[in-house]
């Protein structure tokens, strides 16, 4: 009887452990799958204004001071080239996320203020590209976000114009 209880208890504990870790992995996986479905086609920016967090927006706990551009990047067709303009008087960042929604690389405006940027993103095994800022991605497919602090000292269209200059293209092709 004791042995049967011990075996049953062990199975229950093992099952609980599997369920717990399954849950832990399912949460980021489900968020990522939703993002992949929402932001199609891949390698194309989707720009948002200051509506995040307002009624009707899908974004909860939105940041009322930032305009955001989002894209799903896919390196399966080769390296990607990210280009655009960095504002010269406000916070800007380009942040890359893996399949678990974790931020694996970020570039901010320090040293880039008021300049155009060019960032090459490759897989993790690719050699650095000479003469370009280079990010080695640990994942083939992930998520990328540009954040611009839309300071109130300028009209929103000023910031949105900078936002819309962002491009994603294949390396070696014009975009």
């Amino acid at each position: 009887m004791k042995r049967e209880l011990l075996v049953a208890g062990s199975f229950a504990a093992f099952g609980g452990l599997i369920g717990y870790f399954g849950f832990l992995f399912a949460v980021p996986w489900s968020i990522t799958q939703r993002a992949y479905k929402m932001w199609t086609p891949v390698n194309q920016w989707h720009h948002s204004g200051l509506e995040a967090g307002r009624r009707g927006s899908w974004v909860k706990i939105g940041n009322p001071d930032f305009i955001v551009s989002r894209a799903v990047f896919d390196l399966s067709g080769g390296p990607l080239r990210f280009t655009g303009r960095v504002p010269n008087d406000s916070y800007w960042s380009l942040a890359f996320y893996d399949e678990k929604t974790m931020n694996f690389a970020v570039i901010n405006d320090t040293g880039l203020s008021g300049k155009n940027y060019e960032i090459i993103v490759t897989g993790s095994k690719r050699q650095p590209v000479a003469g370009a800022d280079h990010i080695q991605s640990p994942v083939t497919k992930g998520y990328v976000v540009v954040r611009i602090l839309a300071r109130q000292n300028r009209p929103i269209e000023y910031w949105r114009d900078i936002q819309r200059q962002a491009r994603i293209g294949r390396l070696g092709r014009s975009s």
């Binding site: 870790f21 849950f23 832990l24 992995f25 949460v27 980021p28 968020i31 993002a35 967090g53 307002r54 009624r55 927006s57 909860k60 706990i61 939105g62 940041n63 009322p64 001071d65 916070y91 960042s93 942040a95 996320y97 893996d98 678990k100 929604t101 974790m102 931020n103 694996f104 690389a105 970020v106 570039i107 901010n108 320090t110 040293g111 880039l112 960032i119 800022d133 990010i135 080695q136 998520y143 976000v145 954040r147 602090l149 300071r151 109130q152 000292n153």
Partner: protein
């Protein structure tokens, strides 16, 4: 400035970030702090008034935003949902007080509405690393109910 990061691999931490703040910036770039209770431990409510008072945090940009407990901004006529280092009125000694309240107030008024719970979120961008490393409750604004 380009920064390659080493993302946290602890499954519990990863799941928490995915559930409560997916696609957040790494702590080296931005820190997000949320409050669901006042300084006495009582749950924040949209139909009550609070004074949120503190000192300017040492960061490039900071803000305090108010949300209904469903994570959306309060829909108020002013549409003001946050104060930041750019927009807040400071005292001469560089401290601030924000009044979150359904009733209009002079100064830094953050309007709330409805009979729901409330959430306050403080965001710090490019904060002083020493400040973040030593961050404790005493460094954060107090949230006191106005009676």
């Amino acid at each position: 400035m380009q920064r390659a990061l080493t993302p946290e691999r602890d499954p519990l931490y990863v799941a928490q970030v995915a559930a409560f703040g997916p696609y957040a910036l790494a702590p080296s770039e931005a820190v997000y702090l949320s409050a669901l209770t006042d300084s006495e431990g009582a749950g924040l409510r949209a139909d009550l008034s609070y004074d949120i008072c503190g000192r300017q945090p040492p960061s490039r940009f900071w803000s305090i935003s108010a949300y209904s407990d469903d994570g959306m901004f309060f829909e108020t006529p002013t549409r003001r949902s946050s104060f930041s280092g750019d927009t807040i009125a400071l005292t001469p000694n560089k401290t601030f007080c924000i009044r979150m309240s359904p009733n209009p107030a002079p100064g830094n008024w953050l309007p709330s509405t409805g009979h729901t719970g409330a959430i306050l979120v403080m965001r710090l961008y490019q904060a002083d690393p020493a400040f973040i490393a030593a961050l404790g409750a005493g460094d954060l604004p107090t949230i006191r109910r106005v009676r």
